[in-house]
């Protein structure tokens, strides 16, 4: 980034801002910048901001937007941060190049966040004293309120269209193709001609003003590229819901909780689209909004016991409530799928912020000795894939399976690989003995390990008039499901469960390894939504001559390759988004590795981890002479 032409457009509108001061250098970057919108919750900015991001995407330039919002419906601050990256980096970068400051409440903090040479776009209807601006940034004022008040009389319209007007102005300043935006409007308001016309009008208001009064383009700009390919743009919760549809889930029970509610809502939407029998008009699904999380997992347990594929979606506090049932499902061996969209904990910690802090709570959920399967999707593509896979695994293993996503993937739209479904892929229903098999005299012992993999056979209620019925309970039983309090029966049972867990390690999605360009004794282990920031950090590190082999975990239990990876390196960084290094604890506990080999890299303030953070943390360890002040940023 270098300082070229100074930007002067603002000086007409904000007299005196740059008056006597030297004009600061400006950030110059095409298709590589971060823009952040500071809005007020409930002001209707969300759809305008999304439109902005999508327009850039349609120009073939990868974007990754993030909603940053408080636990509140109206009035409080909300932000939408868009990273534009032709190189395709989708993690948060850190730092802001342009701020669209629409919220007076957060003004000071928003202004402070700008990188030197950055751009501040604001509503200049009411003049601001020069002291509220930083001398090292460029200020672009536009009287948005005044413009809207002059054109619209309805107060709601005045508010709503302000957002579209600034998108119009930005499209001029950043050189976003206006045709692209109008086309997006056309798609959004298909069949609603009046809405379409008024939105286009607002867009033009913004564009016309900017052309006439503001001096564009800025140093940060968008230029058409061809870097999006066949990628799709969707949020992880919708993707997980679609995975449940494709995976054959027929029963969903849930209780509203941020950030997971939209999983159930999207499931409802997709089911209404794909799962209504055209011949009868009847639904091939059942969705119940339960009275609480205990009831929702209870319904899933009941449906799973009775042979339907069922899931619930929840977040931390919901997991806490579900643990008694999770223990029952584990011990009684009932298929259950739980999509846990993690948020900041403990308790109601930071309900609208992201974390990866439920790993231990889920891996060992419930009292007694328990271990559960966790899947760790990195993006919406994998949310889809892992949700479908979880339903298969739950049936195959007859046990709870957790899909551990988080707010960052769940509630933000991500550019990702298109969803894939192999033609001919079928459901793995696991070991369910049929009436014919029972009739043929196959020995049925509900909890007998006949195949040596720890997974017993089950029968579904109603299968056969005289054979195969058994009594399910959370208390110990013998291999034929008969109540027992005998020690050996208990030991047989829990040892078999452990064997089953080892079987699971081969069935779950295997880790993905990326070897560094040069042989190295350094490794890094990461998982889930950390993925895009990690990919970028690895590239940056490599450019600086720090070579690190990387392993992305995709599931727990850990396959042997994880222990082998750790053994092959002197130092392995474990990057995760929680305070207590929960994944590291799992690794130490399950693989009995020397904890000294595993170096913690922890990010847990509720914002998504950035490439800068990871790079600095690793550099600090590898080259301790680097500036320590930087490492804390």
């Amino acid at each position: 980034m270098s300082a070229v032409e100074p930007f002067r457009g603002a000086s007409d509108l904000v007299p005196g801002v740059h008056g006597e001061r030297p004009v600061p250098p400006r950030i110059e970057a095409v298709n590589d910048f971060v823009i952040k919108f500071a809005n007020v919750n409930g002001s209707g900015s969300a759809s305008a901001n999304e439109l902005f991001a999508k327009a850039i995407l349609r120009m073939g330039v990868p974007v990754s937007p993030r909603n940053i919002f408080p636990s509140n419906i109206q009035g409080l601050p909300t932000w939408y941060e868009v990273r534009v990256s032709e190189d395709g980096w989708l993690g948060r970068r850190g730092g802001i190049d342009m701020m669209v400051a629409m919220n007076p409440q957060t003004w000071d903090a928003d202004v402070a966040e700008l990188e030197p040479g950055g751009y501040l776009f604001y509503d200049s209807t009411r003049p601001m004293p020069a002291s509220r601006f930083r001398p090292d940034i460029h200020v672009i004022g536009m009287p948005l309120t005044e413009i809207c008040n002059a054109v619209y009389s309805d107060p709601r319209q005045r508010q709503l269209f302000k957002n579209i007007v600034y998108v119009g102005a930005l499209s001029v300043l950043l050189e976003i193709d206006d045709q692209v935006i109008e086309k997006l409007f056309g798609e959004q308001y298909r069949g609603k001609e009046k809405l379409l016309a008024s939105n286009v009008q607002a867009l033009h208001l913004g564009r016309d003003f900017a052309k006439e009064h503001l001096q564009g383009p800025l140093g940060v700009r968008v230029r058409r590229a061809d870097r999006v390919g066949d990628g799709i743009f969707i949020d992880g919760n919708s993707a997980a819901a679609l995975g449940c549809v494709y995976g054959g889930a027929t029963v969903a029970a849930w209780y509203p909780i941020t950030p997971s509610s939209s999983v159930a809502e999207a499931f409802q939407k997709y089911c209404a689209k794909f799962r209504v029998d055209p011949a009868t008009g009847q639904n091939c699904y059942a969705i119940v909004q339960a009275e609480d999380e205990i009831a929702s997992i209870g319904m899933v347990v009941g449906a799973g016991w009775n042979g339907a594929r069922a899931f619930t979606a929840t977040s931390g506090p919901g997991i806490s409530l579900m643990t008694e049932f999770i223990g029952l499902a584990y011990f009684a061996e009932i298929p259950v799928t739980i999509i846990n969209v993690q948020r900041g904990g403990p308790s109601t910690g930071m309900p609208t912020r992201t974390q990866q802090a439920d790993l231990l709570a889920c891996a060992y959920a419930s009292h007694g000795d328990t271990k559960h399967v966790l899947l760790l999707p990195e993006d919406p593509h994998e949310c889809f894939e892992h949700a479908a896979c979880a339903l298969d695994l739950a049936d195959r293993l007859q046990t709870p399976v957790f899909v551990m996503t988080d707010l960052d993937i769940g509630m933000n739209q991500r550019l990702c690989r298109p969803f894939a479904w192999e033609e001919g892929r079928s459901y793995d229903r696991g070991k369910v003995m049929t009436a014919e098999e029972l009739e043929a005299g196959r020995d049925f012992g509900r909890y007998k390990d006949v195949d040596g993999d720890g997974i017993p056979w089950r029968t579904l209620p109603g299968t056969h008039p005289t054979r195969g019925s058994y009594f399910t309970r959370g208390t110990t039983r013998d291999p034929y499901a008969r109540y027992s309090e005998r020690g050996p029966d208990y030991i047989y049972n829990v040892e078999r469960l452990l064997k089953k867990f080892r079987t699971a390690a081969d069935l779950v999605p295997q880790p993905v390894i990326a070897m560094a360009a040069q042989p190295t004794r350094l490794g890094v282990i990461y998982f889930g939504s950390t993925s895009p920031a990690m990919a970028e950090a690895l590239a940056v590190l490599q450019a600086e001559g720090i070579h690190v082999d990387a392993m992305r975990l995709r599931a727990f239990p850990f396959p042997d390759s994880v222990a082998a990876f750790i053994a092959a390196h002197d130092q392995v960084f474990v990057v995760e988004q929680n305070r207590d290094a929960q994944m590291r604890s799992l690794l130490v506990n399950e693989l009995e590795v020397d904890p000294a080999r595993l170096v913690k890299v922890l990010h847990y303030d509720g914002t998504p981890i950035t490439a800068r953070f990871i790079t600095r943390a690793i550099t600090q360890v590898v080259r301790p002479t680097a500036d320590p002040k930087e490492a804390q940023a």
Binding site: T280, Q282, V288, G298, V301, G302, N306, W421, P461
Partner: protein, 351 residues
Amino acid sequence: MTYIAKPPLRHPTLEKNRVGYTRRDYEGKISTLCAGCGHDSISAAIIQACWELDIEPHRVAKLSGIGCSSKTPDYFLGASHGFNTVHGRMPSVLTGANLANRDLLYLGVSGDGDSASIGLGQFAHAMRRGVRMAYIVENNGVYGLTKGQFSATADQGSKSKKGVINSDSPVDLVGIALQLGATYVARGFSGNKQQLVPLVKGAIQHGGAAFIDVISPCVAFNNHPGSTKSYDYVREHNESVSRIDFIAPGEEITADYGPGEVVDVRQHDGTFLRLRRLHADYDATNREQAMAHVQQHQSRGEVVTGLLYVDPLATDLHMALNTSARPLNALGLAQLCPGRPALDKLNASLR
């Protein structure tokens, strides 16, 4: 080991029902409950009801929570799948099971601790959701399995075995069921099998959420003078509003009582409930009246029994959700997976 198998002896002359089963085929393991426990009488009533209804035992799914009462599903219908879930949460598990396969009959068995304390919420919501099942609470006013603590249905002022007086007012599950929209509400007494068997039959055949509160004395902890859930107290204060007979389709309907005393209530499935009114003015199809009646008599210390309320045309959760007639657990890839072309289209719409 408290598991005792029953010897599989069968007497060749045992009477068979229309589906070819003897009463023995409806039995389960030998009960491990205390001799004289009211719960065993309820198990016997369930066995009798299912046999008389010609139900194939394996078409029933029996679910329960935790407690002495919740153990009982092991002691009847040995050929059915049973599920002893967690304390107080049988209703949600049953709801899920029912959603998965609407073709089975669902029997939910619970205790008053199970349903009125820890599980009060689930009980209430299953009723208001209209989950099709026969929900039977074996109500003894105490926690039997944990040895004699007061439960939430213990009457205020009643005395525990150790002489402690209960100061909390009781939860009336019948009142709650009526209030929340259960479409079949009855109260029985484990000591009155003649009344209980038809009540259970009616509940099993009912098209919606059916609830029976069965007073079931606990001989170990709550059968002493001063307890309002003892055999003696209930025998003396039992106030029956009606006696019902259950008439299956095809059975002859005879009128052997004068008009005004007997009503035959026709249900969805063609069965009839014959209500012999013991209180001439009691109308079991009027929810408000039933609520008022139960409360009035309760305040006098009476235990009102019989079929208290029925909506003969009740529907259930599946109807509300418009779920496929074919059970959800029987649907395959073809009905469930939208397939590759739909996914490709969806991918295209996300660009």
